[in-house]
Amino acid sequence: MDSQNASLETLQDIRRMMDRSSRFISLSGLSGVSAGMFALVGAYLAHQWIGGYYQRYNNRDGFANNDFHELKWKLAILAAVVLAGAILSAFYFTWRKASLHQLSMWDHSSKKLLINLLIPLLTGGLFVLGLLYHDEWLFVAPACLVFYGLSLVNASKYTLTDIRYMGLFEILLGLINMFYVGYSLYFWAIGFGLLHIIYGLIMWWKYDREAKSGNGMGGSA
């Protein structure tokens, strides 16, 4: 009886070490929720500004170069602010979860996660910059979604597996978006806003909630 318990404990130890060393498990669901909120607010503002631009376009009955330039810059700055806000808030919640479990946020597993996330993500970023360089706006949103999805699928081997399904959904959205480019902002809002919030809540429900209520219960399975 005793040796049975000891063997079970040993096996659980082994499993914990394997998991902890190969996967970054401190990723917080709230990170996803906060990033999604930033994306939704950003998409809403962009929608308003673009709407305003077209209203002026119609009133004036024609194209005005400086008005268009202003919109372009406003949207670019908005995108940068949204990206920075999403990343910072995501970092904050994950850092909070890591310190709650007395784990380091910058360790072997998070380095691996980051590298594998960044390879497709930076490729996508440069690809989108290339599109913008050629004044090709049409495929920016689908490209963002597809490359982000690929990044998540690639990174999912090094963190919680739920990320993999979120990545697949992003890819699917991006591919559908290719054929409905007129609705890009909506696809973008669903992919970067809604999906983040939904998956963030699912992950929070699955991992963070029980960790808070059942602390020290040894529920590491």
């Binding site: 082994i14 070490m17 060393s21």
Partner: protein
Amino acid sequence: MNNPIGNLNKIFDSRIRLGVMSILLVNDQIDFNSLKQLLQLTDGNLASHITNLEENGFIKVHKGFVGRKTNTTYSITKAGEKAFKEHLDGLENMIKGIK
């Protein structure tokens, strides 16, 4: 009757050596500090267990440099993988046997 603990490897009795082997099984290579961090150990404690595993031919030591600082990494050997898997099978049989 065969001995129920006959398949268990004495070397893996220590939780620390067991931990090192578990980590190396799923990571191609890992450096000393990451091991230390994961197992929450002091330098001296970890070093003695690593030497033990190395002497038994279960792990390989790679000495390298990052800039001027030495960077030692470890990986599992074929023999280590085999021994550790046999140990796991032994544990599994033991749980099954007594059930």
